[in-house]
């Protein structure tokens, strides 16, 4: 990790901390949400951006974290922090099981298999609506949304906690991609056969990458549940898998800052679009097509290509 890398990423973290005191109320709330969703995108980026695993099922990991937390606090009155750890465990376990099966395929088949598993998970949530309340979702009781004396429904606390989680995820992903393990993942993405020829256990690395990616996604899902107090089936639907892909592609797949940039950009774009028309997802579609056609590297990827060759 070079000094420049550290300065850039710690600078972003410091900037976001400063924004806590500067932002007007509305944007303050938007940024808290953006940071939590950026953690989800960071998780997705490890699988898709760095390892080259095009998954269309990450919403099931996000959902596993979310429902792990939601069901634990709603039905068993488990407080926020232990519930969050349960959510993490659910995500990691699900990623392990899905990975063991889905990683036997690759490319287009991998995408369809993850899509199908995620769809099955989504349908399971609807099927057990007795416990999950299906499409209506669960509202997490207020007294479960506190860690010690911090009340997570308070906007200031929520922002700071989202900031802390985002900072950890960002630095973790920076550390990971600069670590030899992360470099092997990139080698896998670029040429799996060659990596295998060099003696790396490619299957094991891919599984490890997927489990890390799923666990980070679950961490985001669990945090989203406690912070915003709502757990719904739509978060586990195919649209949220596509969102992760969209954010990472827009920000720049295989860049540490890309996921955050993508979520931030897309959130404000949707905000503007939904003020104009009911069909605001049209923007998402147009952005996806334009990105694949003209800027497959995404925003941060273009910056890396043009100005900053060794941007992580």
């Amino acid at each position: 990790m070079t000094r420049r890398d550290l300065t850039l990423h710690l600078g972003l973290i410091a900037g976001l901390f400063a924004l806590h005191f500067l932002l007007p109320a509305y944007h303050h709330g938007v940024f808290a949400r953006v940071m939590v969703l950026a953690v989800y995108a960071i998780g997705y980026n490890i699988a898709f951006g760095y390892t080259g695993l095009l998954s269309l099922g990450h919403a099931m990991f996000f959902g596993a974290g979310m429902y792990g937390v939601g069901l634990a606090s709603y039905h068993f009155a488990i407080p926020a922090l232990p519930a969050w750890i349960i959510g993490l465990g659910c995500g990691a376990l699900l990623a392990l099981v899905v990975g063991l099966l889905a990683l036997r395929t690759e490319g287009v088949s991998f995408m369809i298999v993850t899509l199908m598993f995620a769809q099955a998970a989504y349908l399971v949530i609807l099927y057990y609506s007795e416990y999950t309340r299906g499409d209506d979702g669960l509202v997490i009781p207020g007294d479960m949304r506190a860690i010690g004396s911090w009340d997570l429904s308070d906007e200031g606390t929520r922002y700071l906690l989202a900031w802390a989680l985002f900072s950890i995820a960002l630095m973790l992903s920076l550390w990971l991609v600069r670590h030899p393990f992360g470099r092997v993942l990139v080698a896998l993405r670029e040429n799996e056969e060659r990596a295998r020829l060099l003696g790396y256990d490619t299957g094991g690395r891919k599984l490890a990458a997927l489990v890390i990616s799923g666990t980070i996604s679950a961490a985001a899902g669990g945090a989203y549940a406690t912070m915003f107090g709502y757990v719904g089936a739509s978060f586990a639907g195919v649209q949220y898998s596509i969102f992760a892909l969209l954010w990472v592609l827009l920000g720049g797949a295989g860049t540490v800052l890309g996921p955050f940039v993508g979520v931030l950009f897309m959130t404000y774009l949707n905000d503007v679009a939904s003020g104009v028309t009911e069909a605001y997802m049209l923007i998402a579609g147009v952005v996806l097509v334009l990105l694949t056609l003209f800027a497959p590297q995404g925003i941060v990827g273009e910056i890396r290509r043009r100005f900053w060759k060794d941007l992580p």
């Binding site: 095009l54 099966l101 369809i112 596509i242 009911e278 997802m281 996806l288």
Partner: protein
């Protein structure tokens, strides 16, 4: 109703679903077979076919046509319009991506939202019906042991409509036509040549890019035709593409990607079992079983249940 007639009703509903699915999935399978790309926007072409059927019949009603004339106009025009839109999308988007499989998936996801949301803006959020060209109720007989041995009678509630039977027959005719077209005509030969080896086909003077545009358009037109056929039964809605896409994915994968005969067999299997399972269990459970089955088929038998392993 007793079990027997009930099962027969479930199978009839299943056969209608199977007919529509077979049409739609063979479009997806054709595109995958020839171009080796997965079209995620396929469900939206189905939706667009249904919506266009509504638009065309509304327009024709303004001209004072009867339901039969309107429906025939819709069945001809809607697939043509949708096919042209798809062919244009192929030239403008997919060709520039060099048909790279993963980038095509992302681009067609984008296309999915563009078509779906455009339909929401232009057509609106409500489901709208199209009148069937004919719709007589047909009571169905059932046999049972009576006082005089085997007797035929008409149980209450066991009936179908002439239109539903027409959908099944139409799908069979169209699929047989497609099969003949692929195996007997020159255009079909060109498509199969492109499928086997695109570079070699180019060397023999086949305009591969034009073939791709036509195949992509034809695949979308098949989905649109399925949409036109279903709309008198199911109404046109801008979100109807999602479930249809998932089901045709399931069918194409179980049948073996790119194999037309396998696709048809799988459509009958999935349509029938969906119809039957949905009657006796909940539809959600039926879908969970189907999606998990597909994932496991892809993991353990990537060539599909009826496909042959690649060389």
């Amino acid at each position: 109703m007793e079990f027997g007639p009930y099962l027969m009703l479930a199978m009839l509903e299943g056969a209608v679903l199977a007919a529509v699915l077979a049409l739609m999935a063979s479009g997806l399978s054709l595109v995958f077979g020839v171009m080796r790309v997965v079209n995620v926007a396929h469900g939206e072409f189905y939706m667009l076919g249904a919506v266009m059927a509504w638009v065309v019949t509304q327009f024709m009603m303004g001209l004072g046509g009867g339901p039969a004339v309107n429906f025939i106009a819709a069945a001809v025009l809607a697939p043509l319009i949708v096919g042209s839109i798809a062919a244009a999308a192929d030239v403008v988007i997919l060709k520039r991506l060099n048909y790279d499989p993963e980038r095509v998936i992302v681009a067609t996801i984008g296309l999915l939202y563009i078509i779906q949301q455009a339909a929401l803006m232009g057509y609106g959020p409500d489901a709208k019906p199209v009148v069937a060209p004919f719709n007589e109720r047909i009571a169905l007989p059932w046999v049972a042991w009576g006082e005089n041995g085997l007797e035929m009678y008409y149980p209450w509630g066991l009936s179908t409509t002439s239109y539903k039977l027409f959908v099944i027959v139409a799908a069979v005719v169209i699929l047989a036509g497609l099969r003949l077209f692929m195996t007997r005509s020159r255009a079909g030969l060109v498509m199969r040549a492109t499928q086997l080896d695109g570079e070699m086909a180019t060397a023999f003077g086949i305009p591969v890019e034009r073939v791709y545009a036509i195949v992509f358009g034809a695949g979308a037109a098949l989905a649109a035709l399925a949409g036109v056929l279903i709309v008198p039964i199911q109404q046109a809605h801008y979100l109807m593409g999602g479930d249809a896409l998932l089901l045709s994915f399931i069918v194409v994968i179980i049948g073996g990607l790119g194999s037309l005969a396998g696709t048809v067999v799988a459509a009958v299997l999935i349509g029938m079992s969906d119809g039957i399972i949905s009657v006796f269990f909940t539809p959600t459970l039926a879908k969970i079983i189907a999606t998990l089955a597909v994932a496991l088929v892809l993991v353990f038998r990537p060539q599909g249940l009826f496909g042959v392993k690649n060389r």
